[in-house]
Assembly symmetry: C2
Homo-oligomer: 400 residues x 2
């Protein structure tokens, strides 16, 4: 597997564009189109939030047809909770893009991300789609990524090259997401493109499995958005023999997909709103998978843990506290806690550790918290970020 500099247009037969059409008040790019030259096999995972954005609902319907030609995403407005008009607008977006691209309306997927409860400015959106489709280019991936960013500071894209049955294939992806990040099935918006040939069933299976331990294992603030989705488009341009069984090609494909999703998911956590550090929470030695997940999740969500690490304070007491209220059952007298490798607690009891050494470790941009329950073989891992003044600043004035 070779990791390339690239994005959603790195696989053969994909073009993209990103334009500024006036949805964002600051004049930044706000509408992206990603397009496959030919119908691509499509798979998707979507938010489990009971409330769902109107655009997302249209995509959940359209993806049932099994193939897709394009994904249209606007930022700056979530097209959620605006009533019937929201659904009409989402349908109009897909109809317009389909007409311009010469494909079926069902083959266009759509999503919107931004403020909830405001109607889309469809005049802006229409001109945005027209301009973007006119600009579609085989190296427009980066521009498309820029256009789906909201409070993101860092663009998130990657391309990975593998061999499938002697043919070179590429899997690439881009994502956005910085706040309202707490995954449950999917999270944020992720678009994966590949020129590999793979059946719809296996593409969906691989995407769901990989999402489960990548995008579904990040948390910025514990808030699961109403527009979360990850979609994967596979157009077969690599001309490998179609992957129809769980053979070695499938494993290679899944491995590469895992690399793409892991990279993007970590970047979403690291670029969390106001974040100064990426925190990886590892739970091991758990008696069950559920125990490991509950503890990782509680620690990753705890505002007390996240503010302590912002303050570069090795306050492991808050880590064991979060484990304790996670709802998981475990023996607190067996718990060991390490902060970036430094032992701070053994068998549930404080260890004397070098505070200067701890401070040095906590100045790093990436921090590892490991909680060893010493009670079994199950483990889990989540990525989160610290909680800073800037999170409060960004979210105290998001709508204005």
């Amino acid at each position: 597997m070779i990791i390339e500099k690239g994005g959603v247009t790195s696989p053969s037969g994909f073009s993209a564009a990103g334009v500024a059409c006036g949805i964002k008040k600051n004049g930044k790019k706000d509408l992206a189109v990603v397009c496959s030259d030919i119908p691509a096999t499509a798979a998707g995972v979507f938010t489990t939030n009971v409330v769902k954005g109107h655009s997302l609902q249209v995509t959940m319907d359209h993806i049932k047809c099994g193939t897709a030609r394009a994904v249209v995403v606007n930022s700056g407005n979530a097209n959620a909770c605006v009533g019937e008009q929201g659904q009409k607008d989402a349908l109009e977006i897909t109809a317009l893009a389909a007409r311009l691209l010469g494909c079926k309306q069902q083959e266009v997927l759509v999503n919107s991300t931004g403020v909830i409860g405001m109607k889309l400015d469809m005049q802006a959106v229409r001109s945005g789609i027209e301009n973007a489709v006119a600009k579609l280019s085989h190296d427009g991936g980066h521009e498309a990524e820029e256009a789906i960013m909201t409070t993101d500071l860092v663009p998130k894209e990657i391309a990975v090259q593998i061999e499938l049955g002697g043919k070179k294939a590429v899997i690439a992806g881009m994502s956005k997401g910085s706040g309202m990040i707490h995954p449950n099935m999917a999270t944020m918006i992720g678009i994966i493109t590949t020129d590999a040939s793979i059946s719809k069933e296996l593409l969906q299976k691989a995407l769901k499995e990989i999402t489960g331990h990548t995008f579904n294992r990040i948390s910025v603030d514990g808030d699961t958005s109403v527009c979360d989705m990850v979609v994967a488009l596979a157009n077969g341009k690599a001309e490998n023999e179609e992957i129809k069984t769980e053979n070695s090609d499938y494993l290679a494909f899944k491995d590469a997909l895992n690399t793409v999703c892991t990279y993007l998911a970590r970047l979403v956590a690291k670029d969390g709103e106001g974040a100064t550090k990426l925190i990886e929470v590892n739970v091991k030695g758990a008696p069950s998978a559920e125990t490991a997940y509950k503890i990782a999740c509680a620690v990753a969500k705890s505002p007390l843990v996240k503010t302590a690490f912002f303050g570069e304070d090795a306050n492991w007491g808050r880590v064991i506290t979060a484990a304790g209220y996670s709802g998981a059952s475990f023996d607190p007298d067996k718990v060991d806690i390490y902060i970036s490798g430094l032992a701070t607690c053994r068998n549930g009891v404080a260890l004397a550790f070098d505070e200067a050494e701890a401070k040095k470790l906590l100045k790093e941009k990436e921090i590892d918290i490991t909680i060893d329950l010493k009670s079994g073989d199950f483990s889990d891992r989540m990525w989160t970020c610290d909680f800073s003044y800037d999170y409060v600043k960004i979210n105290g004035s998001y709508r204005s």
Copy 2:
């Protein structure tokens, strides 16, 4: 029912004291003793965190004997996760206080609040207990409250007078708690004193029931502490006929206890770390009690909701988002949302509202969020506070 200015020494036969013995580095009061002249019927509710402080564990054991003479509480150190020494220290505290007060060791309850994972400075604690017992006074309630405060800015105490079978009785309470507040059975530290005569069974029943919808309905940061407890001591000095059945006296007692606990619980939320506003989250029209609770809880915990209200931004989209991911099942197309009475969303759809009017309402120190599911008769209510820069500041440097 008459609400009096007062605290835990307002009921007959209770004395208290608070002293500075050197546990807190800043020289503030850090050790409190609350004492009943005669053995009092005792009841308690405790944290459900799997990890429990050593002092708390001793109290959970001692309270089984049914009566108590005194409660000793230190702030500045949680006496948690320090191993066997922690239990020995907690036992020594109760033994020392018992000897000085001339009662059984089992009749002394103890708790500790503050940093986790540091051994108690027992030399300081011993001198603190000696000084506090020597200073015990029938109007020392306020001083005791000061000594249990940690990051609290506002002391939290109240006394309520009722008549039970022709006799005047008083129920009073004090509490502390500002961070690591998310109740589950009990929360923070609360001490309720009363001169009413009531059986242990009914005292426990009333305390548990009232705690359920007062102290267990507040959240500052979603973190359930390892030292949470609320204990109630009833010494019978009011000389009312002992309440042994759920008669009208029991109802009057419960009503007064509810007033005391509601007052204290709201104050804990309002005085949450860094808080500038008290936020009451009301859910009504729910199809089940569980649905109402899950939604109230998710909204009250959401960092996005809490930062929006800090920024005085009527971002109801975050309220419906939190409801949507709460785990409760409901019809989003029926949801109405009001912010301090202002209708912002009807049937899941944005309403046009006057932003200037919203801004004015959000400038108030107390804000009400009402979510009406219009799908049943169940309701719930939680109190929380906004999330400010100061929460991050306070918690980024708590141990140092």
